[in-house]
Subunit: 196 residues, 4 copies
């Protein structure tokens, strides 16, 4: 168990350091210091610096997927599921500032490379949205003229761009609940005021 413990400690430290300085500006010794281990120790658990970043995503996205799937299983309608997904993502990102930043900034660099390797936990996360949309279309709740794979990009992009706002210097007065309500409503019924 001890070794798993250290693995976790390093992951957590790396997430924090990557969020603060960015992957390329982060030094291994920064992570080591943050994790309170020696530089060399890191290489007992990871192959190289980039591997640490990948593991951060694997682990954190994995947890995110597991968690949201648990929540989604409790709901049956696609409409409710979409709301759950949005709410959960925003709450998690509000809670975990470092993860939010690492996803927002570093995931993208990595995504390009990962796409080739297809070690694609990120894609699994995106696909959850796609599947919800498909279900809604089959149920007859969601429009069929908007493609699920378009929606999944749109929703994730929207969530990700929002999720960084809490951690900016500028004031962002909304709570996750407020934003998630707005987003859910926006994606459900749109911006337009229906003509009566």
């Amino acid at each position: 168990m001890k070794s798993t413990d250290k693995h976790r400690k390093i992951i957590r430290a790396a997430t924090k350091v990557f969020a603060k300085k960015g992957f390329f500006n982060a030094r291994i010794s920064d992570i080591a210091k943050e994790a309170k281990v020696a530089d060399g120790t890191i290489y007992l658990y990871f192959n190289n610096k980039f591997d640490i970043l990948l593991c951060v995503f694997e682990q954190e996205l994995g947890k995110l997927i597991e968690h949201v799937n648990l929540l989604l299983d409790k709901e049956t309608s696609a409409k409710a599921k979409l709301e759950i997904f949005i709410t959960n993502h925003l709450e998690e990102m509000k809670k975990n500032r470092y993860l939010a930043e690492v996803i927002h900034i570093e995931l993208r660099q990595t995504a390009k490379i990962i796409r080739e390797y297809r070690k694609n936990t990120f894609n699994d996360y995106l696909k959850i949205i796609g599947v919800i949309i498909e279900q809604g279309q089959n149920e007859g709740t969601f429009r069929r003229d908007i493609q699920p794979d378009v929606v999944q990009q749109v929703v994730f992009g929207a969530l990700d761009e929002i999720s960084i706002c809490w951690h900016t210097g500028s004031s962002w007065p909304y709570t996750p609940e407020e934003v998630s309500a707005q987003l859910t409503s926006l994606f459900q019924t749109g911006l337009l005021i229906p003509a009566t």
Copy 2:
């Protein structure tokens, strides 16, 4: 004019190189070679490597802002303007693969830093969306319970996440027109099929 010419050449080369390799993996000598100038020449036009990246954004976002504003001026309704904005962004990103990637990936790294410096052309671009939404609310076309500053993040995030899809290995069969129609419709009337 000659010097402006070289400035432009370097910007263009840098955009390409940054898109291909990412800011941190791009070497000054890569940019110099792509721009067909000597390494040292770059420092006659830019203060340092990061300054080049900033200038890429300043210049490219500046052009984008200028261009979309021209288009928006031709329209009066917020509804039409939002459509224009969406369509234009996707078309531009489809056209300019390098810019799309640089915005998607590098802008985020920079955004964090820029936010502090407030040299904020990016914010100006975002704000255009916000202003459109406000106008729509004042006109009475757009709902007032969804905040303009939320929407601007959402729309940009969505557009940006979509705009990278054309340049991925995986097949993305939709044309900008199709996607922009879907997006526009999604943001206007939402996913739900209205109960009749």
Copy 3:
């Protein structure tokens, strides 16, 4: 006896690993793995990495000296002794590829350092040749105008350069017996065909 056993196991493993990768490229963990002991165990028997190399030479050269001395004691004439020495060295090196390589390559690095420390088993081995030559000169069999300390270098250098040939990729078709016959003859009567 058990501890002596482990010492021997490590020496043998080290000889193999040093031969394969060279002293500097060999890792302690390579030797440990080859010897089937833990890394730390090695430090119960040796002071440091270099000490292992020294012990390899001490031990292997010691055995070589002991063995050749036994053989030499059976002969009386310097002429026969020189032949024995040559034959024995080549046979041993043919038999023990790893030792041959370690002597050929690593001994030289070490020799320079050892020379200063005078912990000089290597010199003892060389000196055997010198003593044979001196005996031959005293007997009146060997010329007195060629210095024993020159000959000892020459003979060892020749043997060592030959002894690696069996372990090279390139074809080396001669048996130790053939080569030792040629070398013995060469050192005894030279290359020239005597004018009749």
Copy 4:
């Protein structure tokens, strides 16, 4: 010409540093300091540390080959040529202590690797001896029962082992002329006093 100049300077510095500390203990910064250039400058002229060592051999052995070939061309008999080769090698090694040590110690490490790459200037040097022996056999001066490829190893091994003696702490009272006379005579007529 300037760049060639710096290449030479680095080669010379590297030869000295490698001789003093050995390849693996030599730091790039040692070589840089000795050559009075910056660390990075070295990489403008060489691919990596090992490449420097290879270039030392290529260059120095190349010069050696060129030089000895010039001398050999002046002689016709194989007997004279062998003498020239021996004398020249010893003189050069006496003159250039650093080269002598680098050949003696580092060449062997490298030789193993080089053998696979066959970038084999060292072999060219050895072959010169072999060719002399063949010529002697064809002329009828040298015995045919001793193989040229055996002799070339023997002669080089002998020379190399001798050539280090001048640079050892221990006293080595002989001049290159004396040693080369002894060696030549040894290889020509052997150790034995001919029975009258």
